[in-house]
Point group: D4
Chain length 252, copies 8
Amino acid sequence: MSEIELIKLLQLYKNGQIDDSEILETISQLPYKDLGCAKLDTHRGLRCGVEEVIFCPGKIPEHLQSICKAAANMTGLCIFTRVSSDQAQLILKELPEANYYKDAAIIAVNIVEQDKLEGIAIVTGGTSDIRVAEEAAITAELMGNRVERIYDVGAAGIHRLFPYLDTLRKANAIVVVAGMEGALVTVVGGLVSAPVIAVPTSVGYGANLGGMTTLLSMLNSCVPGVSVVNIDNGFGGGVSAHLINRKVHGKK
Amino acid sequence: MSEIELIKLLQLYKNGQIDDSEILETISQLPYKDLGCAKLDTHRGLRCGVEEVIFCPGKIPEHLQSICKAAANMTGLCIFTRVSSDQAQLILKELPEANYYKDAAIIAVNIVEQDKLEGIAIVTGGTSDIRVAEEAAITAELMGNRVERIYDVGAAGIHRLFPYLDTLRKANAIVVVAGMEGALVTVVGGLVSAPVIAVPTSVGYGANLGGMTTLLSMLNSCVPGVSVVNIDNGFGGGVSAHLINRKVHGKK
Amino acid sequence: MSEIELIKLLQLYKNGQIDDSEILETISQLPYKDLGCAKLDTHRGLRCGVEEVIFCPGKIPEHLQSICKAAANMTGLCIFTRVSSDQAQLILKELPEANYYKDAAIIAVNIVEQDKLEGIAIVTGGTSDIRVAEEAAITAELMGNRVERIYDVGAAGIHRLFPYLDTLRKANAIVVVAGMEGALVTVVGGLVSAPVIAVPTSVGYGANLGGMTTLLSMLNSCVPGVSVVNIDNGFGGGVSAHLINRKVHGKK
Amino acid sequence: MSEIELIKLLQLYKNGQIDDSEILETISQLPYKDLGCAKLDTHRGLRCGVEEVIFCPGKIPEHLQSICKAAANMTGLCIFTRVSSDQAQLILKELPEANYYKDAAIIAVNIVEQDKLEGIAIVTGGTSDIRVAEEAAITAELMGNRVERIYDVGAAGIHRLFPYLDTLRKANAIVVVAGMEGALVTVVGGLVSAPVIAVPTSVGYGANLGGMTTLLSMLNSCVPGVSVVNIDNGFGGGVSAHLINRKVHGKK
Amino acid sequence: MSEIELIKLLQLYKNGQIDDSEILETISQLPYKDLGCAKLDTHRGLRCGVEEVIFCPGKIPEHLQSICKAAANMTGLCIFTRVSSDQAQLILKELPEANYYKDAAIIAVNIVEQDKLEGIAIVTGGTSDIRVAEEAAITAELMGNRVERIYDVGAAGIHRLFPYLDTLRKANAIVVVAGMEGALVTVVGGLVSAPVIAVPTSVGYGANLGGMTTLLSMLNSCVPGVSVVNIDNGFGGGVSAHLINRKVHGKK
Amino acid sequence: MSEIELIKLLQLYKNGQIDDSEILETISQLPYKDLGCAKLDTHRGLRCGVEEVIFCPGKIPEHLQSICKAAANMTGLCIFTRVSSDQAQLILKELPEANYYKDAAIIAVNIVEQDKLEGIAIVTGGTSDIRVAEEAAITAELMGNRVERIYDVGAAGIHRLFPYLDTLRKANAIVVVAGMEGALVTVVGGLVSAPVIAVPTSVGYGANLGGMTTLLSMLNSCVPGVSVVNIDNGFGGGVSAHLINRKVHGKK
Amino acid sequence: MSEIELIKLLQLYKNGQIDDSEILETISQLPYKDLGCAKLDTHRGLRCGVEEVIFCPGKIPEHLQSICKAAANMTGLCIFTRVSSDQAQLILKELPEANYYKDAAIIAVNIVEQDKLEGIAIVTGGTSDIRVAEEAAITAELMGNRVERIYDVGAAGIHRLFPYLDTLRKANAIVVVAGMEGALVTVVGGLVSAPVIAVPTSVGYGANLGGMTTLLSMLNSCVPGVSVVNIDNGFGGGVSAHLINRKVHGKK
Amino acid sequence: MSEIELIKLLQLYKNGQIDDSEILETISQLPYKDLGCAKLDTHRGLRCGVEEVIFCPGKIPEHLQSICKAAANMTGLCIFTRVSSDQAQLILKELPEANYYKDAAIIAVNIVEQDKLEGIAIVTGGTSDIRVAEEAAITAELMGNRVERIYDVGAAGIHRLFPYLDTLRKANAIVVVAGMEGALVTVVGGLVSAPVIAVPTSVGYGANLGGMTTLLSMLNSCVPGVSVVNIDNGFGGGVSAHLINRKVHGKK
């Protein structure tokens, strides 16, 4: 339900064209699609600039199937994240026209053709961080942005980053994906004026504590202007960059 | 040293007007001011869009004094954060013209008069979060932004937030400052399309673990587009919002 | 042994009809069934309002088998929780008349036909929380309550919750099952006057720490009247709601 | 704003007696009192069965003062919790008619004279847990309940608990306040059929981890029907017991 | 090398019958058996009252094989603990005369026939704790003690423990094996005067944190006279009880 | 109430000399002294071999005073532990004949003159561990044991321990008090056949985590026969050694 | 690019033989090899004394393949660490001439024949620590050092260490690899004057917390001169020893 | 006792010039000085290359006094670390000739005049890390090394480090002292071939967790050749660097 429709509805009520129970029912039922096991938030795109996204881990197969069937009848972009191989098979059977981005573990349907907005760069510390970086990159691209990928430029060999300084300085938002001690965030943050979204990865072992060390390290970066999302949360990093970039391009 | 000066310097070297040792010395010495105990990064404003900031806790008084004396001879904005009462007295003695924002524990000198950029809103869950929120607000204001303050609208009484939805939807960046379970971040993030910077506070007790629970909770928000800074890090929240807002206003 | 039987026994002793050793033996042996490996607490239903429940993980198959054989000879309700597929096969072979609730991983025998007590609502944040919610729901139902299921109404799209406010406000006890940051607990708790039992789930990843973040977050909810059970402990949530509901309905 | 007033308001709007902007302004402004630094949720009593409560730690004195002045003009019960000695002095100066419960660190104004509802028992493991127990007891009493106090009956000398079994079995809700390993919760929970609210205290040292051990231990109690609130959260324990008790007594 | 042999050796050296290098070589080489990958401490039985024990997890199969071959040529008791099925097969192939205690995951060779010393009781909270309890029991029995097993008498149904009070009060050392909140330790410790060795198990889930909660809880027991070993460390519990019992029976 | 008295009481009841309510009242009231705020377990000495002990931290002064007054009228040993300077003053005023052991922070009254039982050794790693060691030593001495003190023999200079090997090997129970990495426990445990009670201290800093590191380290000692009590819990260490030693000396 | 080449390049630029864009391009591109997914730091050997090392976990097979192909065309030593069986197969197919050290999970190509530098000893506490020790040993050997292996000399039987004291005292750097409580580090550190690199292993269970306890314990060793690397980080331990040893042998 | 004296002693024994009890007494008593409360390890300098060091926190004043009196009669260097102001006063009264290094919180007596060994550099991230850095620097200097101090060159402004690259590359051991995310360690480690000793500081707040984040981050540095000491352990960092440097200079 768009904002305009909402205003119309209120006026109908005021004019007595619909009564108490009708307006309550309309407002209550419209903005999501009730599948019993799930209630798809079809209104989110308008409200938040990000469409409904299906986080797949832990879903009972029958529930995932219901969601696919509902998605098949919707018109907006629908993204499935953290798709396992088994789930991918199930989803692609229900939605054969969907695109499957295997490295990113993402499946998307109803992809909108559009001009991409320039302004997002995604940087990784190592090669092992690429899966998470791709989750961020595909997410941002599906939402209408162009993404510059700068991979394997970690702080252990800082000179590998320098050729990309120019690209970084042109970005409206930079996503830094790194594991281990995550020092790359501080190095990048100290060289640019764009907001930096840090995505800690669980790459590492032992005292890395499944990425908690990287997460905590990034939160303590001595460079201001860095904010952080959950471990391995490439999706969240991509969305944050997208929201910044669309504001810079003047979208509401 | 501005970018233009840097280019000039390289050309002088190329033309043989300065030799190897001169150019190395210049590049090495220029962009910071060496006080022995400290090396002020005078170049940061140009590079990162944020001036050098002095984080005060743990500083030996003599070192803080040296930094004040150096700041007195500089022309750019200089911000002291987390100033204790004792340190405030010391700093204000050295820099009597400085402004002291007591609730925010900030002291600033060489404040630039300028038109403020619209676009930042700062929201708190409770009254006890205001100190941290003020650190964010003063930081963003000193850097040239106008800030909308929306305080004490926590998720326990969600209707208190609704009158401000319009203000929130106009913002380019929203800083949400909350303690305890930090649910306000999810509620706000689910209603707007602006990027949300979450600042967890250490307000709470027991299983709040000095703010760690709030921090972890915010990192796990089921709303995408939320990124998080360190506990009580109002300064970092303010800077992130500032960097986004200046990009939206077309600054490099 | 009912309370009446206990009083009778004490009087027999007082009257000299049974001697020291007899009363001690009777009291010591009656209220549980000793299987060697296990001592089934057959007295719990009378004492606590909840029958003996078999927590299955880690049980050696032979021990589980003994317990099944004992249960076959008992008359009261007997619930097996956290049943793995292998264990389900073993139990159903021993107790072919038992009911198997697969999504809830519960098996029950000697189910009592009875009028259900109204008054329990179970709410989930997402679709992935349904397994835990079903453990709570089946538990409460087996113990004689009617359960209202309200699934996938998480705080990211708060409007999905509103149509159910009326149902929630009629409940005597509300179980909120959620993962990630668990903000739904605060939102629900802020809208109703029923006691809220929060069940954190391990749905999430990274800084979710296997549900610890959700657990800690719920414990710090800024809404009073929320109490919390262990991670994924749908059973405990169901029992707490049951104990409240039966008190409201006047049971001792 | 009561429910009846809300319905009236909607009808006025429908009849055209108030227009769009008026209804929005009314709904937006009515249910809380805006003090700038704070927004008192005056509507909570009706909505949640618990009046607005002021959590005092970390409040800037000027803000606390504003809240007191507002409270002086309100008619409903107003409770200040976790009051420090300094804050107590400030509050009592503004609200000289208020009651100060020092052991519980609570101050209350506008206390309602009413018949107390029977049905709450509060139990402590040791003498050192009494401060937290009193916070629970005073809270429940202020909200209209009668409280049975059973103090220092910890599991190390379990026979001290037995004389109180009868009292415990009559309760509608039992609050167990204990530190260290919190075993009292399991012992009590195994003997009664009332819902048990466990309040871990920070009494202990070393591996007690400021109460975290007690909290975790209680969450893992092998007795079902136990739910837990935050460490030292006597207030929360008291409210949960109150919400259960009022439901049992047939209040909405 | 016995103490007598050691004294002889020193006298030979003093009398000049052996020289510097000889005595050093003898002392250095005698008390263990060097297998390259392992150095079996053949002297431990004399020194510590406990023979060399082989902790099996993580051992490379070839190394385990070497140890078996060495054990085959030794005369003292040799215990392999935490034996996996694969390792059991390997060990039993090398040492076909060895005894395999499957529930305890222990294999032993060179078992000494001897009169068992009375005085050890082993208690479990639930049926799922039996594996760990058996590790303790078999360990203590192999070292020459008689063990009273009292299983499934957890604190949720405390009356199941009472028939065994007499047995417990006769014990010289009591090993309490329990998971979840471990309250059984406090209950037992409050009823007896024997030293209690608490063995936390990893039975539980969620906030049990793999047994850390049980461990911490037991360390905070409000009953003095309880000491604790590592999670699931039945072996350590058995050895501690054995060392106490043999002292009581007058062994050095 | 001694065991004999208990038997008498039961026979009176059987003979009809006392009735239902009388026996219940007697059993319920006898074994502790009810002070309202506290219920002194006067029966513990008989039951557990350890008298009632007053853990002082967090006690409200009035409550401590009541306990002192009660103790003045009791005949058995009464120990106050963790006494702060303020509390010491209060206690000594009420109980002027009490003994104050300042380094151990213990006050004791009604000390029994008796022959001390040989057999306990207490060892510390460093000088900073002595406060905790003294708590253990004074506790064990007050309960009737002779204690050998061996202080400052930490593993960094292992030769300092060797002169005491003979003393250690004669002990029935050894208490090892150490901070930092606690390696002394492993070294001592590898040289003796007595049970070792490890007391981790909070001596250290940073990654010592207030003693948690020492505690965890000791729990993971590669030497079997070591059991552990809470951080800085000298009292618990002393009691465990006492319980072992009295068993060795044939006490029940 | 060697240092000499770098100086030449700068002079060409100064002499005008190369221009601005050329020098930037050269500096930017030379010191690493860009494979798209990876940027091999071919300059590290010169800069850091350690060649580029490929950390294998988490690498997408295609990426690992690209790295192998690049390595095939390089001349310097290239080490793959933490190679899984599957990865080993892939790497050895691409680089059939490579050496596979299975216990150490290392594959190396372009191994340099050279005289080994004496001076490194590697010590383990138990047999289960050997995998990690071998990672350290092979690493140090591949980089040109001779390694003395002293395995299974843990602190539980300290006499097993003494025959090796002479070897240890001759070493320039000692790597101590141990699990559980890691006491061996303190014992070794207290006997030698060489710097000790401690490598905690994840050998242990329960409160060992996957090696965190060993790590923390080692960091708190009461012996100075011990420094620590990550859990199971044999590679890091080997490199640190190598860097020390080559300095002692006068390498830059 | 030097090694030569030890050999002499053994020969006296062999020749019958001293008997069993004499040699045992001599060996047992010589290498430390027994003060009752403390046993000074006077032999450590010879054995470990580091003299006995007195760690002051938690010492009872009388004990510290005894140690001072003993130190006054010794001839070797004696260092007191972590001296509080009160303790400094006490020590300087006993040892008026001692040197007090206030910023480093170190007091030293019997300082040896000697030529300093070149080769140690100490680097800090910020000004607030200087206290810890000075502890490292003074320690290394007292033990005979010359120290290059490079302060406030943190990774947020990496250009401040470059002028010191030459100094760093000449060092035999580099101590990096940093707080927050500790990224400086990775940056330095990626530029030099000297072994790097990382000293995390507790500078930071919130998710810094008292330095644990910095510690964990440094342990996960993606640069090999970095080893880490405890939080704020400047002393340990200084000793490790000293042990490396003296090996490079050919000392045993």
